[in-house]
Amino acid sequence: MAVANSRPQSALKRREITWGFVFLAPWIFGFIVFTLLPMAASLVFSVTRFNLIKPEEGFSFVGPQNWLRLLSDPQVGQSLLISVRFALISVPLAIIVPLGLAMLVNSKNLIAKNVFRALFYMPTMIPVVATVLIWQGVLNSDSGWVNRFIQWAFGAEGPRWFQDERIVLLSLTIMGFWGVGGAMLTMLAGLQNVPTELYEAAKVDGAGPVYTFFRITVPMISPIIFYNLTLAIIGSFQYFVQAYIISAGRGDPNGSTMFFNLYLYKTAFSFQDMGYGATLAWLMFLIVLTLTMILFRTSGRWVYYASGED
């Protein structure tokens, strides 16, 4: 009986496996062709000289030359520093602002909550290019509404948001607030999933709102904070579009927005230096990988998972 049964059973199993891989095939194929092979190829490119506008130089193996160039190229350190400074300004705000908004639109004292949620989310839908153009107008040092407001309210001249290299990173961060909608919604969902008994128990114990926030709210939504933190850190190192648009790729003012990715873009696609460009890309990949691993390693200490994964 058992022997007779096992044959159709295994045939069924084989059929399931075949069909399963048929359905997975598009992704497996795409992953190999558009991710795995290109990653390997770009590692190979990084040890070659390969310039598309200088075909006479050909495609030749140069060993670690490109990697050594990273060390002697002052632009690498400078652009990384810009990305780090930007991350230091924008990442904390990329957590605090959506968390604050989520708490606001979750407040029992707010009327028409759904309207607020949709409207705070709405700017996320605006194409980045339009976002940059709109904010450049609003933050225009002469005719922008923000500086006109500063003039009207304080009688003082407002900052030169996109021309002053000391504050241009802040201006870009402010512009980024229009993109916090997604993080706000996930944090809102996290807040709604915190069991109300916890708050009730804390209230019975006489806990104040600050204590409740840091001891209940934050730990309970820490997985979502962690997820958004990871995306924000990676995003700040990959920052490109906004920086490209505000100065047509020049990194103005005075090179202060020459983010790492912008430098990579110029190297690979303006100067067509694919070998060095691929080296920069791999450096970026290694940085992002290291940061992610550090985050995941430390996450055990502060991220709280209420239930195990299924």
Binding site: E16, I17, W19, G20, F23, L24, P26, W27, G30, F31, F34, P38, M39, A41, S107, N109, L110, I111, R117, A118, F120, Y121, P123, M125, I126, P127, V129, A130, L133, I134, G137, V138, N140, D142, S143, G144, W145, Q151, W178, G182, A183, L188, I224, Y227, N228, I234, F237, Q238, V241, Y244, I245, A268, F269, A278, L280, A281, M284, F285, V288, T292
Partner: protein, 357 residues
């Protein structure tokens, strides 16, 4: 909410309580409203600026709305109107002769009386303005940005990619949600980790590859890769598919349906909300995508989507904010209308991808 004065009667205790509740409600709501208004203020800037002339924009004293000073024609000459305080109340008079401590005005209601002397500094007077909107900005922007062409390009790229990502992501998500496969968890982990992979690390070889096979300067590199699924969409669809009872597809299988038929006739018909969400995500992604079109379509202006075309326009017309804002308004209108039409489905999708991972 549930504790209100009506439940306990009009005692002093409950009315302070209701009072406090009202205060909390109004202060939080007012704060939220102010915050929302400042958050969306740039949209107001875009909207009003798109109807202005450059004069109305750069004048530091001008209204935030598209207003212009009103003039009165007297003896063949134009004179600006001001709100002048007179013994008969505030009058709209035309400034005929400017003086330091006194000026001459013409009363448009009685021009034949000639210039009237008014003591006071005319600079302190409020000019009379009228709404002066310039819809022609949109026409100029439409023509110079070649919006119809950009719209067409964006639509083609977006719709082709949407079809591709739907076909492939639905299949892959079905594979991940319904089949017991060796190494499935490892594959799923790899799929999810591609989310943090910087696109730059694959971009350069892809760029070279697409150029070598003759796809440089075409839409193919922006469309074809979407026929091979992506992590966000697969994740979102898989979560949804897993919530559909397995008994349903088992029943279909017993009736002799193949897995493909089960997918098409059992799973897909129940999954329209999530499929709509994925389609919209991709559409917005394509509408927004800047980096890849910039790289792959370098120099091919006739093929640019809105994002790249708009940037190019902005570089050429940086000194014409009114045209930039008119163009931006046209670029954001469709995404915003679509968002409000399908807001619920859309926001739900964000929450699923963001929270459950």
């Amino acid at each position: 909410m549930r504790v209100s004065s009506s439940a306990t009667g009009p005692s002093a205790w409950s009315s302070t309580r209701a009072m406090r509740k009202f205060l909390a409600l109004s202060s939080v709501s007012l704060f939220g409203l102010l915050l929302l208004l400042s958050f969306l203020m740039p949209l107001g800037y875009m909207f009003t600026t798109s109807f202005k002339t450059i004069q109305q924009i750069i004048d530091p004293a001008a209204s935030l709305l598209p207003m212009s000073p009103t003039f009165y024609t007297y003896a063949g000459q134009e004179y600006p109107l001001y709100n002048v305080p007179t013994p008969q109340g505030l009058q709209e008079w035309a400034l005929y002769r400017k003086g330091r401590e006194d000026s001459d005005f013409i009363d448009p209601a009685n021009p034949s009386a000639g210039p009237i002397k008014w003591i006071g500094r005319w600079r302190t007077l409020e000019p009379v303005v009228h709404l002066d909107i310039h819809i022609e900005n949109f026409g100029i922007a439409l023509d110079t940005v070649k919006f119809p062409l950009l719209f067409r390009n964006t639509f083609i790229i977006a719709i082709a990619g949407t079809i591709g990502t739907l076909l492939s992501s639905i299949a892959v998500a079905y594979g991940f949600s319904r089949f017991r496969l060796p190494g499935k968890n490892a594959l799923f982990f790899i799929l999810i980790s591609t989310i943090i992979l910087p696109i730059q690390v694959t971009l350069i070889p892809k760029y070279v590859f697409f150029r070598v096979i003759g796809w440089g300067g075409t839409w193919w590199p922006l469309i074809i890769p979407h026929f091979f699924a992506n992590a966000y969409n697969v994740f979102l669809l898989r979560q949804y598919f897993r919530s559909i009872p397995k008994e349903l597809d088992e029943a279909a299988m017993l009736d002799g349906a193949t897995p493909l038929q089960t997918l098409l006739y059992v799973i897909v018909p129940q999954s329209w909300p999530v499929i709509t969400a994925v389609a919209m995500f991709h559409f917005f992604f394509a509408w927004n995508d800047f980096f890849e079109p910039l790289v792959y379509l370098q120099g091919k202006e006739d093929l640019y989507p809105i994002s790249v075309g708009l940037t190019q326009f902005a570089n050429a017309f940086g000194s014409r904010p009114e045209l930039l804002m008119a163009a931006s308004l046209m670029a954001v209108a469709l995404p915003l209308v679509m968002f409000f039409a399908a807001q619920r489905v859309f926001m739900q999708g964000i929450v699923i991808t963001g929270v459950e991972k």
